[in-house]
């Protein structure tokens, strides 16, 4: 953590490499220098710079969800996680890129243009928290926060070779996170290693009375779980996550990791989550449905962009939304509006909620026989910029292994577990029981300690 490096080292690094990576979208050096003067030495985060995804509200700082429709929007308040980071002595190090409103898996739908994968700048960094992952992977910040609705933290963490965690739904306050799909969204840490992940999670986690979906529980210190010890632990390997079509390098890296875990003393068993195959379609009903409603407020009335304001109310709505939402946002608004329409609600939204319950029950059952699950984070490593942008369905498939955790609410962490022959990182996903972040941190840490993937740095 920032102990060995000062924030000025990070500022220099940003100056040197972000021209290539394009992780940062709003960056105010003067404000950072001012904040630095007010920092206390002994604080939990000890002045560590934290990059913030552009959909998390920072008071008086541009917060735009990488969308033209929020052009110029500066929230008058801080998200709860921002207050917590500040209180813990973290330094807010600017806003980082994302897919517009977190709709995407490649960071390409941003109105600011794509962020690059530090391991190969012709490749996407993953998404939607691509800016957070790329900034950490390229050493511009030691840690970042992102949001995960269907894999938006874990997938870019995997593709950029870093650690990313989606906590249990309700562990971290969503107050100040600009909503994509409220019942799925969760803020989480992206860090270079598991230790920093546990430290940042200590800061982020906790009940917030401003978020009715946050859960009041005794506060835990996740750094206690940083021990290399898997004895007495049963790890389940769900067959549905090892399907045809997985990239061979991914399959090999994950299979090797499972062997390592077994060698370290974990008991590994085969398990089944039979409803996994419905997760993607279920997600693509529920998430757009909620999004279509959450995005209703971007209408040109109060804040952000406005177009056609002199042509009457309806024209203002139409022109503002037509001109300022990108294609993927429009696609999801249409999907969601359709799924909620009278006459279709029962067939789509209600049905999807029932499937969601089934998926949740799958996890409940499987956690009766094992403590956590091991899967690949993504079916394939990063793809080239532009490769899938016109093929939404194949893009949606990148989240196939991460989505079930959002639908069920369970926590998941992705740790680096190897590289393809082209030098692109591969991620290992550990899924845990509800509010049992301790176990997945313990497994991820143990695994990390017997590998050197997290020590590697991309050449820039």
């Amino acid at each position: 953590m920032g102990k060995e490096k000062s924030y000025r080292d990070y500022l220099r690094r940003i100056d040197a490499v972000d021209r290539k990576i394009k992780a940062f979208v709003h960056f105010d050096k003067d404000r950072i220098e001012k904040d630095a003067m007010r920092l206390k030495e002994s604080d939990v985060l000890a002045g560590a710079p934290v990059a913030v995804k552009d959909n998390i509200c920072v008071k008086d700082e541009l917060t735009t969800c990488a969308s033209r429709i929020l052009k110029g929007f500066r929230p008058p308040y801080n998200a709860t996680v921002i207050e917590r980071i500040k209180a813990a002595g973290g330094m807010l190090f600017g806003k980082v890129n994302m897919d517009e409103f977190a709709f995407g898996s490649s960071c390409e739908t941003s109105c600011y243009g794509p962020t690059r994968n530090p391991w190969n700048i012709d490749y996407i960094p993953g998404g939607s928290s691509g800016g957070s992952a790329a900034a950490v992977a390229s050493g511009q910040v030691p840690m970042a926060i992102g949001s995960d609705t269907g894999g938006s933290i874990r997938q870019p963490a995997a593709l950029c070779g870093i650690v990313g965690m989606k906590p249990t739904y309700g562990l971290v306050s969503r107050y100040g996170l600009i909503a994509f799909a409220s019942s799925l969204d969760q803020i989480g840490p992206l860090t270079k290693n598991v230790k920093d992940c546990a430290r940042l999670l200590n800061v982020l986690a906790g009940y917030d009375e401003k978020d009715s979906t946050s859960v009041s529980r005794p506060k835990l210190d996740y750094t206690y779980s940083l021990r290399k010890d898997l004895h007495g632990l049963t790890i389940g390997v769900p067959e549905e996550y090892f399907i045809k079509g997985i990239h061979p390098a991914v399959l090999k890296a994950v299979r090797d990791s499972i062997l390592s875990l077994e060698k370290m003393g974990a008991k590994v068993i085969d398990v089944s989550l039979p409803h996994t195959k419905y997760a993607l379609s279920c997600y693509y009903i529920i998430a757009p449905a909620e999004a279509s409603s959450n995005l209703g407020r971007y209408d040109g009335v109060q804040y952000g962009a406005r177009q056609g304001g002199s042509n009457g109310m309806v024209e203002m709505y139409i022109q503002t939304r037509n001109a300022c939402f990108g294609d993927e946002a429009k696609r999801r608004i249409l999907l969601g509006t359709y799924a909620l329409s009278s006459g279709y609600y029962d067939a789509y939204y209600l049905k999807a909620q029932k499937v969601r319950t089934k998926i949740k029950e799958d996890f409940e059952k499987v956690f009766e026989v094992c403590d956590c699950l091991i899967t690949p984070t993504t079916p394939a490593p990063a793809f080239k910029i532009g490769e899938k942008i016109n093929d939404p369905l194949s893009m949606y498939l990148s989240d196939i292994f991460t989505i079930p955790a959002n639908l069920s609410g369970i926590p998941g962490i992705s740790v680096p577990c190897g590289f393809t022959e082209n030098g692109l990182p591969v991620g290992l996903q550990v899924l845990g029981k509800w509010f049992d972040e301790e176990t997945i941190i313990r497994v991820a840490f143990s695994y990390e300690q017997c590998t050197d993937h997290h020590m590697k740095e991309p050449k820039l």
Binding site: S182, V301, S342
Partner: protein, 477 residues
Amino acid sequence: MGKYEPVIGLEVHVQLSTKSKVFCGCGANFGSAPNSQTCPVCLGLPGSLPVLNKEAFISAVKVALSLNCEIQSTVKFDRKNYYYPDLPKNYQISQYDKPIAYNGSVEIIGQPGKSVAIRRVHLEEDAGKLLHDQDRTQSVVDYNRAGTPLLEIVTEPVIHSPEDAYNYLLSLKTILSYLDVSDCNMEEGSLRCDANISVRPAGQKKLGVKSELKNMNSFKAVRLALEHEIERHIDLLENKKRVVQETRLWDSDNETTVAMRIKEDTHDYRYFPEPDLVPFHVDEDMVKRIKKELPELPARLMLTLRDRYGFKEKEAALLVADKKVADYFEKTVSVKNSPKAALNWITQDIMSELNARAISIDKFGFVPEYLAELISLIEEGTISGKMAKDILRESAKENISPRKIVDGKGLKQISDASEIAGIIDEVIGENAKSVKDYRSGKKNALMHLVGQVMRKTRGKANPSIVGRTLKEKLDSF
């Protein structure tokens, strides 16, 4: 109208007068500077989240219990999606398929045994207010009202006349005032009423085509609009014309209804469960506690007053129609236990004073203690009923107790029989003609003579002693 039967259902929106808004901590008072009572939550700013205000929920439960509803065991909120600039999120947090309560009834005050069935009661947030400039080229929004708690109370379609609808609204308003949960001011919009009305041939089971009436800003307007709409429907039916299902606005200036240009019925609100508010279980003990603490409601209180004081139901109804009046009465009899006198003074002189001044009884300077004193003064024989009326007006105006007025002005009634007898002798001497008339059988002449005695004493003579003594003297010749 005997050939046709109107069927009416009413939807009432009541603004709950909680300290803060329903999903945030902002104040919910009227009359603040535009947009001064707002925060990220009620402005619907990106990233903000709603948190249910417990006070609003408790008020809702109070109302639902008072309307004899069944409280549901789980409470859930839904989003109602539609676009309008006064709606900051472009969805309203409301309750769709699981309202707080179902199946209640409102007893009509003053008509024992008559009640209106309530279908459901649900809690939701209000919208802001759009203001247009004079040329209507620009509009601005005041979000102070956005997020204030609203309770929607829906009746079954069981009302069959505008008069019954009117009485239901009065009874509902009375119940709400007893609970002290709303200002219930239709002009200020803290109580709003829409009506669904259809007309069918008498005896037919199937409902006719309905129209939905909006824009009525008083109970009287609701009654007028319904009367007008029933006539319009009957006219259409009589002339074999089709009744169109539509929303119509009451035009109070022209006393007519006009079809709304935008067809609201075609809206698809895309209701779905509000993911930001987790459904929660209603604590039965809490409901029991709230029920226990409810005040005695008007229908019940009317029976209590009837039985305790031997009033007629109609008399008791006059007192309970306004909780403040009932409180005033109770306070008065607690000081001076003369219920019948208190009833008469309140429902006659005091009510007309209040009407003349257009104030409510709790703002009236003539407090219950004064009324108790006034009644005592009469019963003691210190003042006459006629004097009392003047003293009441003066006491209310000057804020001085009746006894002080009596003492200060020497208004004390003359009850001394010999003093009165002397004056009567004078009057008999001065009014020979009237005395003659009386004795020749014109009994009316007595009143003239009484009047003369009162004039001489400037109204202070005890009228019953005057009457009795005068009669004795005249008859004894």
